[in-house]
């Protein structure tokens, strides 16, 4: 059964980011590297950052998991590349969810926000709050 809701949930560009992730892989000499997982569903996202004079010069992510977690990570790296660290700090969960542009059910919020947790915990040493 095909419904409009399915196609809206798995929008074309989310599937595109899932199948063709941007900035995927590892950096050889990262200044910061951090990985987080969601044991409940086995999603893993890790990020490598190269930082010069307060700017995220290069970034790569790696991991595996559902379309939402991996597309969200891919989208976030696009946003972070070339950004001032100070500005990156200001990215909120609403920004990340807004960028995905779809209704995320409570059960899938953790998938959508896993990459933000990597950013917060890894790059900034902020407490990683389990966003619900």
């Amino acid at each position: 059964m095909s419904t409009a809701a399915d196609d809206q949930f798995y929008r074309e560009y989310i599937l595109d980011h899932y199948k063709n992730p941007r900035n995927y892989g590892r950096l050889e000499h990262p200044d910061i590297t951090h990985e987080e997982d969601n044991p409940l569903c086995g999603d893993i996202v890790g990020m490598d950052f190269q930082v010069r004079e307060g700017v995220i010069e290069d970034i790569r992510f790696h991991g595996r998991g559902c379309a939402i977690s991996q597309a969200s990570a891919s989208l976030l790296t696009e946003r972070l590349k070339g950004l001032q660290l100070e500005d990156a700090k200001k990215i909120t969960k609403d920004d990340v969810l807004g960028e995905l542009g779809i209704q995320i059910s409570p059960a899938r919020i953790k998938c959508a926000l896993l990459s933000l947790k990597v950013l917060k915990v890894g790059a900034y040493g902020l407490a990683g709050d389990d966003e619900e």
Binding site: M1, S2, T3, A5, D6, D7, F9, Y10, L15, P39, L40, C41, G42, D43, I44, R64, G65, C66, A67, I68, S105, R108, C111
Partner: protein, 405 residues
């Protein structure tokens, strides 16, 4: 006498939830509950709500009688020797923790071997890990072959080392594998081990006879067998239970309490401290009645038919891998993976079609690690499952493949 069969259409009329149009394929997680169960609980709340074992008035007496009546129903259902061997718990997890705490702390010492299996649920792993860490005991896990069946040779080798305890599930919740429990218990007993069988996934789905099985402890949950959450059972052989200290201490489990010390109540109440889940236990009694009426041979036959149907339908799908043994050696559980589609994405798409499908590690992370997957999708069946629900699952899978192509 002709074997009984299940009239699924009639059964489904007892489950109002199906009026919502869902295809419910997650009964290994928790089952649905018929009106007979919710009705029995409602009747308690509305007609004789009161506490058990203490008040002298009529409705409290009725509550006590109905609460204790479940014990006899459960005893007969699993063919225990006495109601003294039937302990109410909140569920399988609490039952296993009770044994790990009360029996384990008294009997497991440094250097002892505990044998578990890679198929076990976390609730039959973690309590033993805690105990082993505390006592300096060793745990070994029996591995599986490529069909998801326990390596009996490896098990036999481990038994030669004289384990103090052997604990395993009769049916794997994650793969559906039915373990050769009778043979495994007999071998463990011969090796001198105490044996606990986790019956969470077997008791709801096939006839169980704990005396024929020969185990020392047997644990299961009410909510997977048409009963409510919050009521489960620990069966223990009487001589073992008699020698065990209480797990929880407080009201109702004592005989006399003096400042100088306390004497404990007789079995089974010694292990039932505090105000009990009265409505839930009464509901569990109604669930046992319901299943007994259907006949557990008929329940198993129905599930086998659905499982064979689903196994064939799923195996026909390109890019789909089914884990575990063939239908004749598995319970009504099918775990599978879809190439290129994470189980959670599949579950979300299925949910749009009102198909309730489990995705995750099924509280069996060691098994997921062993299979080399982070998670699987799992469909599981019960007395009310009809082929149409399996067809709807197949439709959802095809839809997911279309979206992710």
């Amino acid at each position: 006498m002709a074997p009984r069969t299940i009239d699924v259409a009639a059964v489904r009329k007892d489950f109002p939830i199906f009026e919502t149009g869902i295809a419910y394929l997650d009964s290994a997680n928790t089952s649905q509950r018929p009106r007979q169960v919710t009705g029995a609980m409602l009747e308690y709340f509305e007609k004789y709500n009161s506490n058990i074992h203490r008040a002298a008035y009529r409705i409290a007496e009725e509550a006590t009688v109905r609460y204790e009546a479940t014990r006899e129903k459960v005893r007969a259902f699993i063919n225990a020797a006495s109601t003294k061997e039937i302990i109410y718990t909140r569920g399988t997890t609490e039952a296993i923790n009770l044994v790990a705490y009360s029996w384990g702390r008294k009997n497991i010492t440094s250097g002892d071997l505990i044998v578990l299996t890679i198929l076990d649920h976390h609730s039959n792993i973690v309590p033993w890990q805690i105990l082993a860490a505390e006592k300096g005991a060793e745990i070994q896990y029996v591995d599986i072959d490529e069909r998801g069946e326990l390596l009996q040779d490896q098990y036999a080798e481990l038994l030669k080392r004289g384990p103090k305890l052997v604990a395993f599930n009769l049916v794997s919740n994650a793969m559906g594998t039915i373990n050769p429990a009778r043979e495994m218990v007999a071998a463990a007993k011969k090796a001198g081990a105490t044996v606990l069988v986790d019956g969470a996934q077997s008791t709801p789905h096939q006839p169980v006879d704990v005396r024929a099985l020969g185990c020392d402890f047997y644990a299961f949950s009410g909510h997977k067998m048409l009963g409510p959450t919050g009521a489960g059972i620990l069966y223990g052989r009487r001589e073992l239970l008699e020698a065990m200290d209480p797990f929880m201490a407080g009201g109702d489990m004592i005989r006399t309490v003096r400042i100088e010390g306390t004497t404990y109540h007789d079995l089974p109440w010694r292990f039932e401290a505090g105000t009990q889940a009265i409505a839930e236990v009464i509901g569990l009694g109604a669930a046992v009645d319901y299943l007994s009426e259907l006949g557990m041979d008929a329940v198993r036959a129905h599930e086998l038919e659905i499982t064979e149907y689903a196994y064939e339908a799923l195996s026909d799908i390109d890019g789909l891998t089914v884990y575990g043994p063939p239908p004749s050696r598995r319970a009504g559980v099918i775990s599978f993976a879809l190439e290129g589609i994470h189980p959670h994405d599949l579950a979300t798409i299925a949910d749009r079609d009102q198909v309730c499908l489990r995705a995750g590690h099924h509280c069996a992370m060691p098994l997921m690690t062993r299979l080399g997957v982070p998670a699987t999708a799992r469909a599981s069946f019960y007395v009310y499952t009809q082929k149409d629900e399996v067809d709807r699952l197949v439709g959802s899978i095809q839809e997911a493949q279309r979206i992710f192509k």
